[in-house]
Symmetry: D2
Subunit: 498 residues, 4 copies
């Protein structure tokens, strides 16, 4: 789950005002939303007067969001989603470089020239195993075993809107400066951005902007947990479990022994550490001693250096499990994200814009939808207007993780979240999928896009702002910092979702 600028699962949301929508405009939106197979670059006026920068691209944003939601492509397999974004940007005059870092669905699209260089991140990968229609009750879509439960369809589309708006500014102002849209695949356990960082895609960027859908409006310079994962594969010796158990060496024994020692470890790591695992392969048939078994571990800590130390101890437990059970071990690092390095200088800018704009504004339809959704949530009841609240500015340690982290240790980075989901909704739930396919979510997306665009334009206008952000960035990183990806030199796991 990606939750960079947030500290918890819960967000709140205020819908874009649509009060002045004419019948014709409404029809257009409806048509756009239902026509999910294409989202051409459309210039059209926004109905929300708070959003002058993204208003011309509102239909593009919503249509794109809807297409991505419908396709719900998994990490590194986001072929259609990536193509749509690339095409839209190319159509708007961006210079597009596909296949970044040897990842087919990664790309960068650039507009303008010279400094400063402002990057905007766009994600678009869905999650496996979750299927839900865009209705406020549980309804599985039978032919789809995946869904945008983390709202990355909105993320990609909103960032697209921001990039287009910044392009408008550059085009209109003639100012020196470059805006780049980074199409970053496979955030969910794929660490897509880390490979881009490792390949040097951000070395000449002055600041990076991003956002994330959520259930609240927030622009605080919070951090996340650094996160590293691996699959542990043990090999033993099969034998008939009744006739010759003594000839067998159980790979499942090794899995359990490793887990045992890791569970003992919990007492002896800093309390903010997180270690969690599942057993992805635990033997085939009870009457055969399993000669193969596999577990999948995540290890997290606010500090990447501390995480490395804890990681080594988890590896020691795995090695020990093999030794103690007469099996052999291979493990594969699956992904690894740094924590997010906050930047208060940048965050203040985004925060001011968010405050100025306000949160999401619901209409009656949205409210009805929110009421129904809320009844299925732990909160039980929708609190009127909660979607328009802006969370106070604060520096917090979030418990989630994101590959934005690695970007943030290489470039001053700023993000925000808006309430694209009904307040009380957790990420990675069917409610998150459901809402992400509705107009309600688009409203939050456009607010985010406006904040990103306004912040980017401020940065383009103000060298001092970039200087301050850079100074804070260097100070926070420390003089001895050397970036090393937590996932080492492994190639992108392009087939991890196949």
């Amino acid at each position: 789950m990606k939750k960079r600028p947030m500290t918890a699962n819960h967000f709140s949301l205020r819908i874009l005002a649509t009060r002045n929508l004419t019948l014709k405009q409404a029809l257009l939106v409806v048509l756009t939303v239902f026509c999910t197979q294409a989202a051409p670059y459309i210039s059209a006026a926004s109905t929300d007067t708070r959003l002058p920068l993204v208003a011309p691209h509102a239909q593009t944003v919503t249509a794109t969001a809807q297409s991505l939601w419908d396709w719900a492509e998994l990490g590194y397999l986001e072929t259609q989603s990536s193509s749509l974004l690339q095409q839209t940007l190319a159509d708007a005059g961006f210079n597009v470089t596909p296949g970044l870092a040897d990842i087919p669905t990664a790309f960068v699209a650039s507009y303008g020239s010279g400094e400063p260089v402002i990057g905007i991140l766009g994600e678009f990968d869905a999650l496996p195993g979750i299927s839900q229609a865009a209705v406020p009750y549980r309804e599985v879509i039978d032919d789809k075993l995946r869904g945008h439960a983390c709202g990355h369809n909105l993320f990609g589309a909103g960032s697209l809107g921001a990039a287009l708006a910044v392009r408008d500014y550059l085009a209109a102002s003639g100012q020196s400066g470059t805006v780049r849209f980074y199409g970053t695949p496979a955030e969910e356990g794929g660490s897509g951005k880390v490979y881009l960082v490792r390949a040097g895609a951000f070395t000449d960027v002055d600041a990076v902007l991003h956002w994330h859908p959520g259930d609240e409006n927030k622009a605080s310079p919070s951090s996340t947990l650094a996160n590293k994962s691996a699959k542990f594969r043990f090999s033993g010796v099969s034998s008939h479990a009744a006739a010759n158990p003594e000839r067998g060496r159980s790979a499942l024994d090794a899995i359990e022994a490793m887990n045992f020692m890791v569970n003992l470890l919990r007492e002896h790591v800093p309390e903010e550490t997180r270690i969690h695992y599942v057993i992805t392969e635990g033997g085939i048939a009870p009457n055969v001693v399993p000669n193969f078994a596999e577990s999948f571990y995540y290890v997290r800590h606010p500090n990447a250096g501390e995480l490395a130390t804890i990681w080594d101890r988890v590896i020691a437990a795995a090695d020990a499990a093999a030794l103690g059970t007469g099996t052999s071990l291979e493990y594969e690092v699956i992904h690894g994200n740094h924590s997010v390095l906050p930047n208060e200088a940048l965050a203040r800018v985004a925060y001011e814009h968010l405050i100025r704009l306000g949160g999401v504004e619901y209409d009656e339809t949205d409210r009805a939808f929110a009421r129904q959704i809320a009844q299925t949530l732990p909160i039980g009841e929708y609190k009127d207007g909660s979607e328009s609240v802006i969370e106070p500015f604060s520096v917090e340690q979030g418990k989630g993780s994101t590959d934005v982290g690695d970007v943030s240790w290489n470039v001053p980075t700023v993000g925000l979240s808006t309430a694209t989901m009904v307040p009380g909704t957790g990420l990675h739930t069917w409610q998150a999928v459901a809402t992400g396919g509705t107009a309600l979510a688009h409203k939050g997306t456009l607010v985010a896009a406006e904040v990103l665009a306004a912040t980017a334009i401020d940065l383009l206008k103000s060298p001092a702002l970039i200087e301050a952000a850079t100074a804070e960035f260097l100070e926070r990183r420390g003089p001895d910092f050397v970036y090393a990806p937590l996932l080492g030199d492994r190639a992108p796991p392009l087939d991890y979702r196949r």
Copy 2:
């Protein structure tokens, strides 16, 4: 795995001679065999003069064996296999009752009238997850994820041959007496016979005969382990494993806690006990506390009563795991087999016939095949003539389990094995699948069929033999014995292989 009359995985084999095959017969065989996709190494009608009783049915036996091998239908899904057997028996004048005990593929076919009633068991289910061509090297058949790794295609076909031969005898002699072929599905973990026993299908039977393919020739009154299995399903509470682990109750924790206590239990059960498990569901994603997890346990012991006591302690460990981890438990008994109750009186008869006939006789082709297979086995080398050795008569405690066990506690029962597999071959291996599709295997099958037929005819002729077997049966069971199926009153798990 079914291993009733054997004590270990290893058997030996001698092939039936096919020297006197006519052209017409050869053609028929070829056609039959080729009707079942392909069988490069082909069997034919028996020319083995040792087998007067089954010789007339040799082609039927081999063709049937080959069809079943090719279809390789899984437990309770053996529609074609069951139909073919039923049709063949009906064509031979048997009165067929399908759908026994509410199991679509179970049936009984009866011929003759009056007492004594002799039952012959026929199995025909294949195993999932194993695919292999009938060649002496590893070659997966891509479109088939199942195979006759326990030789039940031979079992069903050989028993068919025996039933047909006994029919011939009854028809020719005009003697009072009934022969019944029991089509018993889902031996592999499905306990098919137990439902037939429970439904009373054997209450009026005087003796039951059966056999099993193996890698040696043996007719000793050995026993097996009683066996009971269940799936343990724990339910907990999901939560985000990094943000709110304290809200989660991990079902996987319960799985591991149960396993832990069961592993402690190993020290405190009789040493001949066997307990083995796999984890069939161990969580979906590391970042979610698993709210569901499942394990699959087998518990075995030579004695059903002792097994019941140990079973209760395993259940206590499961209950304890739920209690100690704040989760809830449901478990489903999957199957349950009694041990085989040996009958020495009957076993002596079968043994004498086996000794008289000799084991399997290879020709050059068989030997070449055996040599190649042996190189892939732990034994490394094929020992010339080992397939014709008859194992000495002895009473042994086998370590396998079979649902023949439940029959044997209700009717005096006798079985044997013949070397249908290359000596050194283990059951449930690709080598077992491979050989089971060749002429080599058919030779052992016909030897078994001849022994079964000869034994059945002896029983039909000799009331004293049946009396002695019955007396021994009652003595071994003990006066206080009351049969109760280990699987209780559950319905047949007709979809356990879907």
Copy 3:
């Protein structure tokens, strides 16, 4: 370990200046220190001009501290220590009530009359298993397997000094008011104060003062962890572990099963929880299945209510372990302390006095001693003057526990620590024992006594202060608070150290 007003093991210390000590005075001190068998009530001028209130009792304080150090009596067995304190207070005109709450070594000594009533807590129990001479290198005292590793000899003596000083004030001023010295035994795992609280010994008290020896000077309103402990005793069935292991039910299995489930629990409790255990009885001989085994658990959390919830889950794990291993369980709650409820109003008063007085002031002897001790500590080196630093005022969550906690939820309570130990010294170490027997420690003790006395006198003088403290106290407790001792209704474990 008791560490109420501190957040970690490390404290800093400044020794009382003794520069103006005359030869005669020095001799007297030396004599007093070496004459450890008695410490009569002695009125003598202090040499530290910062300490006008306790100066008259300096010799009494140091002699008492030395006697207690020498006796090093364990919890509930502090007969001599308690007697000495009682006698000294009686000699000074206090009215002494011994045997409080049916605890032979608990007492209260009262002076003055009417309101307000100010309580001062005094501890005096030592720790088992640690023996050390008063020298700056490791030297075990052979005949003593216990020592004042938590500095309670200083605690008792310092509080005595404060009580005597307050008595002087009451006697001189003639003001209404009562000072009470509470002799509170068995802080170390005995929860002595909780029984006094439960017996109502604090119901009419307006404020309670206490302090604790440490390695730094601090008077912040910090909290501690609520703490509850129990011994878990499992009973099984013995059997010969080689001949009849199946007849045995191992109590040690139950211990390990409980531990296993508790270790799984670690992931699913709030991260600030602490659970730790030892195995106090793990079987006698390997060749006998253990029919008895015992573990000793502590469970802690900042919040007593949350602790109760976690406690229930630990008990569930214990019950589950018995169920899953066929054993039976009895458990005995050993002790239970509430967290300390901070009182900022009172803390400010103490803090101001501490700031005014300054920390500990070393002479050359002290510094030489400190240098030697520091070399044996993780810090490696003594930092000159660190003993005189005053830690800034802050509200912190400490990780230790103390039975002062229960007092603090019944009466507004304030405490401080002074650097009686060399900065860098951890509690419960031989270095803590060593220093506690030297003049260096006495200096910190007198500073603490002066702060306590001055704070008490302020409270006696200012009803507004007591009102403010009480208001804050009621607010922090909340309106629905009902005090319930975590250790329930058990009797004091008077023999827990025998």
Copy 4:
């Protein structure tokens, strides 16, 4: 526990007849018994006419048995017991060599000259932790925390009687031949005999005789389990378990991790393996992360070679536990015994003598005692005359272990048991201690002594018998056998009982 020639804990017993005992003789016995401080070499006629060889030494045997019972000296600390035996043998003309194999209480006493050389083993160590008076109900002797719960007081005294009787024969016959009494300390977990074997004390011996007290009369050539033990000591890092658990490395974690992996191992070793452990040190105080912990393991298997393989896997689990928990491991092999190598040729001789003599013969007093004891046993009731039954000759695999094993792989060895305990009594129980201090036990002892003496004399007379025994011995050992003590090259653990 030593149970060489037995297969289970239960034995039966018949008491020596004392019907013809005169009053004077009775008094003498009483006096001898009560005078436990000395047992001089006394020549006196036996009252049991079945025992001509040992009758002259009956008083010596009983008095010695009683002294040893009373002293109840623990392994390697049997100073008085060893001295008494040495002195008695020296007085009878034996040439005594004390301090064998650098063990103060080990000795060999030799009489006669030339070949053959017949060894007789004598044990005399008691067990810790068990105290019981010689009464038929539970009565602890307060000042004694040890007792002869395995009857080694009888073992030593009975073997002494046999040695004296053989000496009489050699002296009277003038035949060539040597009888040696081996004083072998510390059988109970000390492996005393292994050090003697290792030191070459048996290299020139032709046959070794021994016996063991029990609850039945038996002279079958049974075997035992080879047995090896070690203490596993893990070292970690202490820290405060609440304040800094992350700094600690728990040695108790390592103990539990090792146990976990060994418990998994149980499924994957031959079923006749035995592994059992206790935790001898599991931490001191819950609030301190334990930096030391210790377990004590026994591993057994009928075959020493197989045991070595399993042992290596246990060591791997221990190494793994250290690796996986960040601790370090030292382990000390404590003892190691080979299985007993049976010798049927010799066993037949002893068996014939036992059959000829009959078992134990009770008088009324014995019977009354037996009835009372039996009521405290699982059997519940004493079966009249069961003490005189001789168990049939058979070759069995016992589940106990003894250091006689190592002797038996170096010299043809024969043993027996007699019913010195009430039938139904288990070794290592208070009932075993109680009976071992009564005249009842002495009767069984004298029967054993007579059988040993008669067998030894047969061997002295018959070179063919020794040849046959040697031939069988060499055949059973196999041509490739090379003796290696399981305990390696460690020195005797002379202080293991301190």
